[in-house]
Amino acid sequence: MRIRQVGAHALLLDCTAPADTPEAVADTREAAFVEAWRAELWRRRERGDLIAVEIVPAARTVLLDGLPDPTTTAGQLTRWASAVTAATTSPDQADPQATARGRADAADVVVPVTFDGPDLPAVAEHWGVDVPAVRHRLTSTRFRVAFCGFAPGFPYLTGLPAELALPRLATPRPRVPAGSVALAGPYAGIYPGASPGGWQLVGRTDLVLFDVAADPPARLGPGTTVRMAAA
């Protein structure tokens, strides 16, 4: 864990794995650290140990913005690191296979998906399997929202093994329909609204992902565990 300064009021917690970490496990380990830090920092803020306007998890980092005193916060982060490390070595975090095996959990949000995306054949080819196997893989994976970005309520879902990472489309589509379920890099994602997009489309859902009148407004916020079920 490394703390990077970001201007006068923010810090970036960098959870990038050491350079000698095997590539196959680096992404999983980084995602586990980011999730553990996010959970710890949200808890600390809730308890009043930490004052921050924004705590923003991302691929390998957690941004803390709106800090009244970043130097003091940096000291706190160093002290809290051992608790976070302990959390990442708990059985759930340490065994990515457990996630892949997909244990049921009442807290999981089930996303009903119609798997008819135009890029399904391309994904199948890239993975070296047939289309039903892609569907099976997606419905038997327990995903977790690593972070939101790109658009309000757009979840970056981790859970697929690193070797199934996919390239983005060479030419993004000018319009991807709302509810599109898509894959890119190591992530699955769901477009909350229609927008341009370069991810490979595998299906669609009617689930409303972002509703400003709901509390919380994002159905799939950071830390949420997610399953896809064939609609």
């Binding site: 990077r4 300064q5 970001v6 201007g7 006068a8 009021h9 923010a10 970036l12 960098d14 306007v53 924004e54 705590i55 923003v56 998890p57 991302a58 691929a59 390998r60 980092t61 957690v62 941004l63 913005d65 709106g66 972070f147 939101c148 970005g149 790109f150 658009a151 309000p152 309520g153 757009f154 970056y156 609204g193 972002f210 400003v212 919380p216 407004p217 994002a218 916020g221 950071p222």
Partner: protein, 287 residues
């Protein structure tokens, strides 16, 4: 039954949006902060008309805009150097103006600077979205940019106008000198990049908007090639995309970005008034 008081848009101009102090606190869900590009100027306009500082006003861009108020109100305009006309009466920026019902208010075009903020007593009372009435041009949250013929509700005035005749408006500088604080990815750039960033002049590119001020000038070479996985972005972050030309993020910035941030501009508010072609120079916090 009385009709609710409104502000009617006769001519929206290039870009007029409803803005307040934005919706911070939702970045973890991908929601930008948004809000007035110069919050201090909006706050001042609100104080002048007796509003709480967080009341919503209009952010008016360059070409100006024309509105009609259906009730008597106190109004104030801050920001760019613009002509203000209240009916047949010439007005002024930086001071409260008391206008009768039906007054046509014409603001702009800007003589110097880019953006003005119009506060009306009672505030623009559109429905808040996630605690803010700000129009976010990136995500589309909040009211859309104004169009000719729009009618926006006005709130009930809650305070008395400020007892001042005028305020001293800061003069708009010919050249911007921006203080740069540390960036999280300084180590992704070569020493040459910093020599160029601090040693040469950049100019504001015409494609700048509420999301960011794009700069043109010496390219900033990278020490680390390859992609940076998405990470959280702060206001004022100076991001360097693949073309090596820096971009300074403003209020409607995305919450995460995938290009390295070389530094963070301490105060972005002068950029709200920077026209394309304006010279920008960076210096470190110690100077």
């Amino acid at each position: 039954m009385t009709h609710p008081a409104t502000i009617e848009v006769l001519s929206a101009g290039a870009l007029t949006t409803v803005q307040d102090l934005g919706r911070p606190g939702w970045a973890h869900l991908g929601v930008p902060r948004s809000g007035a590009l110069d919050p201090g100027a909006l706050r001042l306009a609100n104080r002048l008309v007796g509003n709480p500082e967080h009341a919503a006003g209009l952010e008016i861009t360059l070409t100006g805009c024309t509105v009609r108020l259906t009730r008597a109100a106190t109004v104030a305009v801050t920001g760019a150097e613009v002509p203000v006309q209240a009916g047949a009466r010439p007005g002024d920026t930086g001071r409260p103006l008391s206008v009768p019902a039906g007054t046509v208010l014409r603001i702009g075009p800007a003589r110097r600077g880019v953006r003005s903020w119009l506060a009306v007593s009672g505030g623009i009372d559109v429905s808040p979205v996630l605690g803010s009435r700000a129009s976010d041009t990136l995500s589309g949250l909040g009211p859309p940019p104004l169009r000719d013929g729009d009618r926006l509700p006005l709130g009930e005035p809650v305070g008395a106008p400020a007892p001042v005749d005028l305020t001293v408006c800061p003069t708009l500088p010919e050249e911007l000198h921006l203080t740069l604080g540390p960036g999280p990815r300084e180590d992704w750039f070569t020493p040459t990049a910093f020599d160029r960033l601090f040693g040469s002049a950049y100019t504001i590119s015409p494609v700048s908007n509420r999301v960011g001020a794009r700069l043109a000038g010496a390219t900033l070479p990278r020490a680390v090639a390859g992609e940076l996985p998405s990470e959280g972005i702060v206001l004022g972050a100076v991001q360097v995309p693949a073309d090596g030309q820096p971009l300074i993020f403003l209020a409607d910035h995305p919450t995460t970005g995938g290009y390295p941030v070389i530094g963070v501009v301490t105060d972005v508010t002068p950029l709200a008034q920077a026209r394309p072609g304006t010279t920008v120079r960076f210096h470190g916090p110690q100077r």
